[in-house]
């Protein structure tokens, strides 16, 4: 029993050390998130859209990549963009890229999982974000 307790304590310690090891990198990411949120405003993101569905879908994906914050904020902002006449394709790509892609966390992801895995995962996520956004809008329009 005693050795089990020690072993469990050791497991917790190992897990805590795993987090402690990447703490500087994580704090750096948190710092960057703060900078992005303060310096890249909603107005700046909204101004990127032009009204052309194809162009805006790509812009939506890229804007979602650089934007940071709670997913809920992306829904609110997406709702505002829809109200301004931006296409649902672009808004769908924007809210999806917001949660699946993140420029800010790339250094940490590459440090932890390796550059190749990070590049492939993000490339796939980028492509599938566009495909998923377009397919969702098509399907929803077909149903309605």
């Amino acid at each position: 029993m005693k050795s089990e307790e020690r072993s469990y304590r050791r497991s917790l310690k190992n897990a805590a050390l795993g987090i402690a090891a990447i703490l500087p990198m994580m704090l750096g990411i948190v710092g960057l998130v703060g900078v992005f949120r303060a310096f890249i405003t909603r107005e700046m993101l909204a101004s990127l859209f032009t009204g052309h569905a194809v162009h805006d879908t790509l812009i939506g994906t890229l804007a979602g990549m650089i934007a940071v914050g709670q997913a809920l904020v992306s829904y609110v902002l997406g709702g505002e963009l829809l109200g301004q006449g931006v296409s649902l394709y672009a808004v769908a790509a924007f809210i999806l890229a917001w949660v699946t892609l993140g420029v800010v966390q790339l250094p940490l992801e590459a440090e932890v999982f390796g550059i190749r895995f990070t590049l492939l995962r993000n490339l796939l996520a980028f492509l599938f974000t566009i495909v998923t956004a377009v397919a969702s809008v098509w399907s929803a329009q077909w149903l309605m």
Binding site: Y8, S11, L12, N14, A15, A16, L17, G18, I19, A20, A21, I22, L23, P24, M25, M26, L27, G28, I29, V30, G31, V33, G34, V35, R37, A38, F39, A71, Y75, V76, G78, G79, L82, L88, A92, V99, T100, G102, Q105, P107, L108, E109, E111, V112, F113, G114, R116, F117, L120, R121, L124, A125, F128, V131, S136, V137, S139, A140, L143, M144
Partner: protein, 183 residues
């Protein structure tokens, strides 16, 4: 392919110290350029920190429990080389249910990867996180239920396809696509 059930000894090493230094230098530079906005950035950063600290505790607890309860050989069998469709369900389900920013989960996923968790499942886990169950009512309110339904379904499908693609690439590359940049 190395025996994934064997843990390589890992030396404790702080990672990203230079990166953190760079970010602090960026704050210092921004402070002289836009003082008020930089202070806002610091406040936002503190808010994010407050948000992720409890999640990090959960991650430490979960990772510790996994370390203690799971036999690495069993884990490798369930989420490693010989895992079947149920491993995809676990990866996708865990992604949908996980909470907080993606990077808070990196240490635990890294640890599981060292025990044999395959990269395809990691890819599927990360993409499936786009389904935010508690926020579904909000999404329905803004974009309607047909869009929310299809988006959620397609996210899960896309997560699985991406995982399969990563697996195929890894298998084709033979010795392990990622071996160069791994420790």
């Amino acid at each position: 392919m190395a025996d994934v059930t064997q843990k390589s000894p890992r030396r404790f090493r702080l990672r990203g110290v230079k990166f953190l230094g760079g970010v602090l230098a960026l704050y210092a530079a921004l402070f002289f350029w836009r003082e008020a906005q930089t202070l806002t950035a610091m406040r936002f950063a503190l808010e994010v920190l407050e948000e992720i600290v409890p999640i990090l505790f959960v991650v430490v607890f979960l990772a510790g429990a996994l370390h203690y309860w799971l036999d690495p050989k069993k884990l490798a069998r369930h989420l490693g080389e010989d895992a079947g469709w149920h491993a995809w369900l676990i990866a996708l389900g865990a992604g949908i249910l996980s909470h907080g920013p993606m990077y808070a989960w990196y240490p635990m996923i890294e640890d599981l990867r060292r025990h044999g968790l395959r990269d395809g499942y990691i890819t599927a886990f990360f993409y499936a996180r786009a389904v935010k169950v508690p926020l579904l009512p909000m999404m329905i309110y803004y974009f309607g239920w047909p869009f929310t339904l299809f988006l959620s379904l397609y996210i899960v499908l896309a997560a699985w396809i991406q995982g399969v693609i990563v697996e195929m690439i890894e298998r084709r590359s033979g010795r392990g696509f990622w071996s160069e940049d791994e420790e």
